[in-house]
């Protein structure tokens, strides 16, 4: 298991116990035979606590896991799942947005177009990538990649990991809403398979712009939400302190999305989250994406689009009364 540097608030009691355990282990056991017993007791207690804590994460705790800085990022998935990668840059209108990845890659022998929000793995990289929050040119680059996929008959694999589209002055002046809407319209009618994987944060319209298609695979602790729990708390309670409550009310977890008919499949994560064993998660996601691609590649293009549109049309339709 990888050594984890970032500790989440809800893990603190366990980390504290682990620290005590380390202290005990440093003592001379041979001089105090009862110490070995104490260590064994503490170890099993910690294991029990971990099982209890991690097997029943609240939605708000899952949001924190989804935002964990050491969680595998889009670039990790691109490197691990795809071979012969060619990155595509620029929106052909304004610039290249490093918060969005676009490129070609081959997964299990299937040539694909790959897109995804790209957070950084450290502060310097995060600043360059604007913490994974795209400007309009990021969405326009993604749309360009979608259209390439359609033109050349390649399936699209999309990775979601953003707090949201960037709420900046220039982003607004360059048409953030327009760029997102154009992605939605393009995806809605794209005549090629689209497989979406929620790997971390699925923040509102900025996630949705590359976040729906023919399959939605969610990592167990990834979330996807119309609004961040903090912002919902600020609006509803005039105070950001109720985020745990709004996180539950918003029904934003992977399991919730399957129940609501929006997500198709959940990929389980190791105890404590994907960052505890990235290799395991990367392999599980590769298997899930590969299965989805093979299912979808056999479907005639017209039928694919008809099915996708019918599925979208059905979302919410069952919840209205006339």
């Amino acid at each position: 298991m990888a050594a984890v540097r970032h500790v989440m608030e809800f893990e603190r009691p366990i980390v504290e116990l682990e620290r005590q355990l380390e202290d005990l282990k440093r003592l001379d056991v041979s001089a105090q035979p009862e110490l070995a017993e104490e260590i064994a007791r503490l170890e099993s207690e910690i294991e029990m606590l971990k099982d209890a804590l991690y097997s029943a994460l609240t939605p708000w705790e899952r949001v924190q896991v989804a935002r964990h800085p050491e969680r595998p990022k889009t670039q990790d998935y691109v490197a691990a799942l795809f071979s012969e990668v060619v990155e595509l840059r620029g929106d052909r209108a304004y610039g290249d947005d490093e918060a969005m990845f676009a490129g070609f890659g081959t997964l299990d022998g299937v040539r694909c177009v790959v897109i995804g929000h790209r957070k950084g793995k450290n502060t310097a990289e995060n600043i360059r990538r604007n913490f994974g929050s795209p400007h309009p040119e990021g969405f326009r680059k993604a749309r360009r990649a979608m259209l390439l996929a359609e033109k050349f008959g390649l399936p699209v694999v999309s990775f979601l990991d953003t707090a949201g589209a960037y709420p900046g002055i220039e982003a607004e002046e360059r048409g953030q809403a327009w760029a997102i809407a154009e992605c939605l319209e393009t995806l809605a009618g794209l005549r090629t398979p689209v497989v979406v994987v929620g790997i971390g944060e699925g923040g509102s319209g900025g996630a949705l712009a590359i976040g729906f298609g023919d399959r939605l695979i969610m990592l167990e602790n990834a979330y996807y939400s119309v609004i961040s729990p903090e912002m919902a708390s600020l609006i509803l309670f005039k105070d950001p302190q109720h985020a745990a409550e709004t996180a539950s009310a918003l029904r934003l977890t992977a399991a919730d999305l399957v129940e609501l008919g929006i997500a198709d499949e959940v990929v389980q994560e190791p105890r404590g989250g994907a960052h505890r064993d990235p290799a395991l998660v990367l392999a599980a996601v590769e298997a899930a994406v590969s299965r989805a691609l093979r299912d979808l590649l056999g479907v005639p293009r017209d039928e694919l689009v008809t099915r996708r549109q019918a599925r979208l049309a059905a979302i919410g339709a069952a919840f209205v009364r006339e």
């Binding site: 900046g168 002055i169 953030q176 509102s204 996807y224 609004i227 609006i235 409550e245 009310a249 006339e322």
Partner: protein, 307 residues
């Protein structure tokens, strides 16, 4: 999207009933109003006749959905569709207060079943499907009902080969329906795509305010985008932008006028000229023989006098 900001901004923009000191003592309450734009005292009847546009300074104050639709439709032609559709509160959402109570209060206050009104009408003689959003209803946020009514409006227009004219005003997606609301953005964009692929015209009118998941879905996919003078339109609200960037916002940020300058809106059209402008645009877009319209009458040129 801080919807609460919009409620506050909207309060400030509304006409306030003038205090008894400035109004004649013998007139009934609320007959004289004070314009939030120029502070002039305006006779309510004059204001209403002028579609809530101040006769002194041209300030546009809000309209209800029905007022907007009736101002656009040819006289006596508007016929509402999906009038009784309501939400069943899919998430059983409760935070601060139950969503069911918020919905009931909005219905009570507005007399509407939901935040959007749609229907068939003629606009300048052209068969159209019209829609307008009503900001009084939970900030005209888009949940399952708004998404469904918008999608049906486009599908109906496609089936009946009508144009679509839609007036927006919204704080964004409705958070109380969670991901179902977010997905309405994709659902309505898909409906526009189906409609647009059939070669039919869509004219959007962006009203004050239009934000978040509503801006970033169906309205901006229109063939021609108009906006009302002074309307605030964007994705992220100005307060959030200011807080995130810690920069002061440029003058006129996110106003309809600045969107024209940046190339995202075709024209700012005063409300009093809106119906005429929309009709003129439809004259161009409905007159063409589109390949899909081989059979029957797709938005036919009106057979008027002498033809």
């Amino acid at each position: 999207m801080p919807v609460s900001d919009w409620f506050r901004a909207r309060e400030q923009r509304r006409y306030t009933v003038a205090s008894p000191k400035t109004a004649s003592a013998d007139l009934p309450d609320g007959v004289w109003l004070k314009c939030a734009g120029c502070k002039h005292t305006v006779y309510r009847g004059d204001l209403e006749k002028n579609l809530n546009v101040c006769p002194h300074c041209g300030h546009h104050t809000e309209l209800t959905a029905f007022e907007r639709l009736l101002a656009l439709a040819d006289d006596g032609t508007f016929e509402e569709t999906d009038a009784t559709m309501t939400s069943t509160d899919p998430l059983r959402f409760t935070a601060a207060k139950p969503y069911a109570e918020t919905l009931a209060a909005a219905r009570e206050k507005t007399g509407l079943s939901e935040a959007v009104v749609t229907g068939r009408a003629l606009v300048g003689g052209h068969p159209a499907v019209l829609g307008a959003m009503d900001f009084r209803f939970i900030g005209a946020s888009m949940g399952s009902v708004v998404g469904e009514k918008v999608s049906r409006a486009f599908d109906r227009a496609r089936d009946e080969r009508r144009a679509v004219v839609f007036v927006t005003a919204s704080g964004g997606a409705r958070m109380q329906e969670g991901m179902i609301s977010l997905m309405q953005m994709a659902k309505t964009a898909a409906a526009v795509r189906r409609f647009s692929d059939a070669g039919l015209p869509f004219v959007a009118v962006l009203g004050n305010p239009t934000y978040g998941g509503v801006t970033a879905s169906f309205p901006v996919l229109a063939d021609v985008i108009l906006a009302e003078p002074g309307a605030m339109v964007g994705f992220a609200g100005p307060k959030l932008v200011e807080e995130t960037t810690r920069q002061s916002l440029p003058k006129g940020f996110q106003t309809a006028e600045s969107l024209v300058r940046h190339g995202f809106v075709d024209a700012v059209v005063p409300r009093t000229e809106l119906a005429q402008t929309v009709a003129r645009v439809l004259d161009y877009l409905c007159a063409q023989e589109v390949p899909e319209a081989a059979e029957g009458a797709a938005c036919p040129v009106p057979r008027g006098e002498g033809s």
